[in-house]
């Protein structure tokens, strides 16, 4: 008898082979981290079924089984190896194995040189990811599978991280995209993530075997793999049990007296201690006192409609919930709803209004407003009078409870919003950009995974004696921290309390980046559904060290604020909002179309309502909305693009050179174009980046945590290769031009050396002349000679004299190009002054010009009514000045200079927004420095973190809040 036990991150699998080698028992169960107990139970069941099994050979595998095996001296095999053992036994002809588990993704290449790949620290594209996404859609993974089979189209969803994918999906839902299409898109994203993260340049072909839970249970996922990899993979019998079977079949097994080892496992609790922290409440009295204190901050929620029937309606269509409130003239709530938003907010709002009208037939709605992610669609669908940016809605509501409020923190399902209030206006805003670990959905996901409903789960932790200290970290990483704590014997109560604390810590230390609780404020209002959990509220008060105000309607504050805002702004007697009659015949239709307005070809969702109103979403610009009549925009990003477009592809007698249009080439293309054309080469560049281009190159990306602009280079190289140029030119450059703004003039390591990565990982480059030598344009005197030496390696007959002349032309071209940018910048600044328009200095690096990188944020700002200029167009307007960090990168020196320019200007119309690419290590330093340059002069710093995401919802809120805070632009009130 041989027993294999596979202790995975979320499930437990066990198989038993009898002495004839037949599979005599198998079992599969979620272990909800009660590993020892469940394992013992499972073994007992096995023993019962396999009569006469007193002794057996046993072996453990699986990531969560390591500690157990080690401590009980049971043999352990690494799960990838166990998989291979089983595959060899059952599918001897397999070439490649793809196994997706709860939190792991693996690819095994069996034929040829054996290689095994496992996902790194990122859990995107695993079972947990699919679970998370189905929760978001409010369906089961099986339903997701079924729906996916009916899909008509797919959207691109960021697959690198569950957090990003979530915001993409949320946006799609709010735009009214169909669940079936989203489902298919999710599965496609999983495949892309697996391929991008694990294939790393090696082709997946031949006999492909699919293993693990997700691939077993979701045929559509297998289909997606087949489709994208162009293979016909198979999912063998018992595909869930391969790790367990491999463990049983492995040579490592050792004989055990079964009842004895079962007993040991049952009583096993890890010897290792987890790190604990102080309990939330030490006694019931303490808790009661806490409850009493918070009951003071309440507003009636069941108030009557006052004579005259005047009422105000506020609707907050948030990311995971829809909140709706109706209040009377006394600002007391007469009716409210807090509804989980499983996608489309429209039917929820319709039901709310229907209920409202039937409950209060005599109601006279004076004014109404919507806010939140779904602000636009709700406003359009039901004819609401006003839309208000979330931050303002929350501030309005908070003032009601604490007139002196100086800090508001709102923790919702997916976002954290914090704002400082100074002089009755919003002074500073913090939003979580790329991280949802401090949010409600974080708790909810964990509660769900452990088999609880969220409120119930949070309550478990209230009196936990020794909460786990989980620190502050990303949701995805938190999974493994929790796993570790479970391994170390933490109880569910202590994990619950620990998670509540970590929500708070994430909000404080990751989003607000707090060092001292005192700087937060004296009159803090906390709100958002997450704070309705006493455990979270208590953790927050404990962490900052003093009491805060939690309104009784903490979960409704956005909606209540919108209602108050509607009342405040009502200069009319009757709301335009749909009435009871109109509501009865209300209907809503969604159609997906592709916009052909420009080369972006955005996929639009067109919502049509009974009243004839239309709402279009998914657009990156306002073109489809306005049918041709676009307003004039002053956008320096557009101008820079035009300048680059002027360098047309050309032919030359010496051959054709292709240049990838990415990273520093966005600035140096004019230089190299002129240089090579002067030498008699034809020059062309790769096309503008888009998702398609990215996917073309994603299989050769060796490091999945590098920034998106660098990853795009792989696609650009593929595009260039398909053009079969005589050479591809993309030099390594440690140094950039010295603009005398800083201490040195480096490029960042990625910009400097990415050509090395391309050479090492894009196998197809070997077939072409790839010129990626180290070049120093920062030394114009030495450049011609050095460059001549480099060119001689690839081409014959180019003289130093020729190179000298070409270099001269190139340097001149570059200077002229930069001068044009600076001139245009000055022109726009003057124009803005004259027309009294707000100006945003959209600061990033040259490659943030790429619309696939900036996602059209420049256009978005223009739509808000501002003039957009770039950092390089103003950086020459300030003198070199001392900075608090070593100012050693050319591109970043411009950022500091641009910040200084804004800080010195004393002009409130002038503001800076910094674009930061996710994974840019340098920006961890520059961001803080730019902030401090601005804040020293009392200016607001706004940072927008961008990645592969295409969702601009959060960005829009951020920008609108900025304009609202500044009282500028379209938000002028």
């Amino acid at each position: 008898m041989r027993i294999g036990l596979d202790v995975g991150s979320t499930t437990l699998k066990c198989v038993v082979y009898d002495d004839k080698g037949e599979l005599a028992f198998k079992a599969y169960e979620r272990h909800y981290s009660q590993i020892a107990e469940k394992a013992a139970q499972m073994l007992a069941a096995a023993k019962e079924q396999c009569a006469g099994m007193e002794q057996a050979a046993l072996c453990v595998s699986g990531s969560a089984g390591m500690g157990l095996a080690e401590d009980l001296k049971i043999p352990f095999v690494q799960e990838v190896y166990a998989t291979r053992t089983a595959v060899r036994h059952y599918v001897p002809k397999a070439d490649v194995v793809i196994e997706l588990g709860g939190e792991d993704a693996k690819i095994l290449f069996l034929s040829g040189a054996m290689e095994v790949r496992m996902n790194g620290s990122c859990a995107g594209g695993t079972g947990a990811f699919i679970d998370q996404m189905s929760t978001l859609l409010n369906i089961t993974p099986e339903e997701l599978n079924r729906l996916s089979g009916e899909s008509e189209r797919t959207y691109s969803i960021a697959s690198r991280c569950g957090v990003f994918a979530k915001s993409d999906i949320q946006a799609l839902l709010n735009q009214g995209a169909q669940k079936k299409d989203i489902s298919a898109s999710i599965l496609t994203a999983v495949v892309n993530q697996t391929v991008a993260g694990l294939a790393q340049g090696r082709e997946i072909s031949g006999n492909v075997v699919y293993l693990g839970g997700p691939l077993t249970f979701l045929p559509q996922l297998r289909e997606a793999f087949d489709r994208i990899l162009k293979v016909e993979g198979a999912c063998p019998e018992n595909s869930l049990y391969f790790v367990a079977m491999g463990a049983a079949l492995s040579q490592e097994v050792a004989q055990f007296e079964l009842s004895e080892i079962m007993e040991k496992i049952r009583h096993y609790s890890s010897k290792k201690q987890y790190r604990g922290s102080e309990a939330l409440f030490s006694s019931q009295e303490e808790y009661r006192e806490f409850e009493r204190r918070h009951q003071q901050d309440s507003v009636p929620t069941n108030a009557p409609l006052l004579p005259g029937g005047k009422a105000f309606v506020g609707i907050d269509a948030g990311s995971t919930t829809v909140k709706a409130v109706a209040m009377n003239e006394e600002e007391e709530i007469i009716f409210s709803r807090y509804l989980p938003n499983s996608g489309n907010p429209v039917p929820l709002v319709r039901d709310f209004l229907a209920e409202l009208y039937s409950k209060f037939p005599e109601i006279h709605v004076v004014s109404s407003a919507s806010t939140g992610y779904g602000e636009e669609i709700v406003k359009n669908a039901f004819g609401l009078d006003l839309g208000v940016v979330e931050t303002i809605a929350h501030f309005t509501a908070a003032k009601k409870f604490e007139p002196e409020v100086d800090f508001i923190i709102d923790i919702g399902g997916q976002d954290i919003k914090c704002f400082k209030i100074k002089n009755e206006t919003i002074d500073n805003i913090f939003l979580n950009e790329a991280c949802s670990s401090g949010c409600g959905s974080f708790l909810q996901t964990f509660a769900g995974a452990l088999g609880y409903e969220m409120g119930e789960f949070a309550r478990l932790g209230l009196f936990a004696g020794n909460p786990v200290d989980l620190g502050s970290r990303c949701t995805v990483f938190m999974n493994s921290s929790v796993k570790q704590a479970q391994k170390d014997g933490a109880s569910i109560e202590n994990i619950s309390a620990g998670l509540s604390m970590s929500v708070v810590k994430n909000a404080l230390y990751k989003v607000i980046r707090l060092t001292d609780a005192k700087t937060l404020g004296n009159h803090i209002v906390v709100q958002g559904g997450t704070f309705l959990n006493d455990a979270v509220l208590r953790a927050f008060e404990k962490e900052i060290g003093h009491p805060v105000t939690r309104p009784s309607v903490a979960g409704l504050m956005g909606a209540y604020g919108a209602a108050l805002y509607a009342k405040e702004r009502a200069a009319w007697e009757k709301s335009k909002m749909i009435d009871a009659q109109g509501l009865a015949s209300f209907s809503h239709q969604v159609k997906a179309v592709t916009c052909n307005g420009c080369e972006n070809h955005c996929r639009l969702t067109v919502n049509t309502f009974t009243n004839g109103a239309r709402y279009i979403a998914g657009n990156r610009c306002e073109k489809p909305l306005q049918k041709g009549k676009t307003q004039v925009h002053y956008n320096l990003y557009d101008y820079k693009k035009q300048l680059l477009d002027a360098y047309r592809p050309c032919e030359g007698p010496r051959g054709r050179i292709g240049i990838p249009m990415g990273l520093n080439m966005f600035e140096l293309y004019p230089f190299w174009y002129r240089f090579f054309t002067a030498l008699g080469f034809g020059v062309f560049h790769s096309p503008e980046s888009d998702r398609k281009l990215y996917f073309k190159g994603q299989h050769t990306i060796p490091s999945d945590t590098v920034c998106y602009p660098a990853k795009l280079m792989h696609g650009h190289i593929e595009e260039l290769l398909s053009e079969k140029p005589d050479a591809i030119f993309y030099p390594c450059m440690s140094y950039n031009f010295d603009e005398n703004l800083g201490d040195n003039h480096y490029n960042c390591p990625v910009v400097a050396y990415y050509p090395e990565v391309l050479d090492a990982n894009v196998a197809a480059l070997a077939e072409t002349k790839f010129i990626y030598d180290y070049v120093g344009i920062h030394r114009p005197k030495d450049f011609p000679k050095k460059m001549c030496g480099i060119l001689a390696k690839y081409f014959s007959g180019i003289t130093e004299k020729e190179v000298k002349a070409a270099a001269k032309a190139a340097y001149e071209e570059y200077s002229a190009h930069m001068e044009r940018i600076r001139q245009k910048g000055k022109e726009y600044l003057a124009l803005a002054k004259e027309k009294d328009l707000p100006v945003i200095i959209l600061s990033g690096r040259p490659y943030h010009l790429d619309s696939e990188v900036n996602h059209g944020i420049d256009k978005l700002i223009c739509e808000c009514g501002a003039v957009v200029v770039s950092e390089d167009s103003v950086s020459d307007l300030v003198e070199r000045f001392p900075t608090g960090v070593l100012n050693q990168w050319t591109y970043h020196a411009r950022l500091y200079a641009a910040a200084k320019y804004v800080a010195q200007s004393g002009d409130p119309r002038l503001n800076l927004v910094q674009l930061v690419s996710f994974g840019c290590g340098v920006d961890a330093i520059t961001g803080d420095e730019v902030r401090s340059i601005l804040e020293r002069e009392g200016r607001i710093y706004t940072q927008i973190k961008i990645d592969e995401i295409t969702n601009l919802g959060a960005v829009r809120i951020r920008l609108r809040s900025l304009f609202a805070a500044l009282n500028l632009g379209a938000e002028k009130v």
Binding site: S63, Q200, L249, T705, V750
Partner: protein, 427 residues
Amino acid sequence: MAEQTSRVQFTKEMKKDYTIITPNMAPIHFELIKNVLQSFGYKIELLRTTGREIVDEGLKYVHNDTCYPALLSIGQMMHALHSGKYDLHKVALVMTQTGGGCRASNYIHLLRKALKRDGLEFIPVISINISGLESNPGFKITLPLLRRAIAALTYGDLLMLLKNQTKPYEVTAGESDALVEEWLKKLTRLFEQGKAFSQREVREYFDQIARSFAGIQLEQKEKLKVGIVGEIYVKYSPLANNGLENFLFEQGCEVMVPGILGFMIFKVDNRLEDIALYGGSAAKKRVCTLLKWYFTKYETDLIESVKKYPQFTAPASYERLKELAGEVIGHGCKMGEGWLLTAEMMELVESGYENVVCTQPFGCLPNHIVGKGMIRKVREVLPQANIVPIDYDASATKVNQENRIKLMLAVAQERHTGKDVDGVSPA
């Protein structure tokens, strides 16, 4: 230009009674360096603190997306300042500054920002650099000091190298570690007397050290040989890499960690390489050539002393490493550990340490290029290479790291025995 005006200098007066708190990186090396500095009259406190508190302090004071080494060193120092053990008006802090294009050159500024947040900006922070970035009247890196520091680092390299090769096989457990301790004490005594620094003495003590380790009785047993490369801090610091060296020992491996001297030569040689690639001043070239020659002498002596004992594997020379790197990556790639990291992987594989853990802080920029970015090409040249890249940061868990290392070890085991875990010999 960094804010020179507001910087608190470390004055000559401070040298008398200020304690200079130093973060730790490589325990053996830093202990020796500390002793060198003490012999120059500085009061040095080398931090040996460990534990989650340090990470927490770091998370509080440093931008969470900043690299893990910055977070830990700054966390360690802030933790020390908060411990109540020191008179805050009588302490100074020290930080190295490489001056390269990597963000590591900015650690010192991040430390100052952290101090400022805490209202401790009066504490002087001393930069240790050889790039002429910042200077302090009370802390001068003089030529004698530099010479001694280089000697100390090389002693550290030698002790680490030999200990790693004897410890897994020692018959009497603990003998190798005890010998390291003994040498640390002995060298400290010698440093105090101003001895063991001259070339002649160094050569003599290198021989003595090698001889003493050769005297350790070893068991004949086969062990998996694993090399560790990576970002310099994570590579050496047990605090950062979750005790990687020990973990590998426990898993029954022999561990090889390339030394620090190579990195020092690399940093000097970079300047020469820059001049060769882009042009530059002849005077600078002369100075750097001299310095490189000087460093290389120590390296040569170390290699020769080790080579006298055939049971030991001597490290390859810097020039050999450079040659190896040239097969896959340009010598102009110099930020962070640059091509040296790639070269170290190749050299390890070539000298029998085919299994390599490539350690890096999560999101380390140079490592995207020279670590993960080069693995494929290294395998092309050396197909036997079995490399696993591991990310370290405040939120990565040991379970995941160890699981991945175990996978690498399983591959190693299989190749080592010539049979795979299923007992099947490869076709």
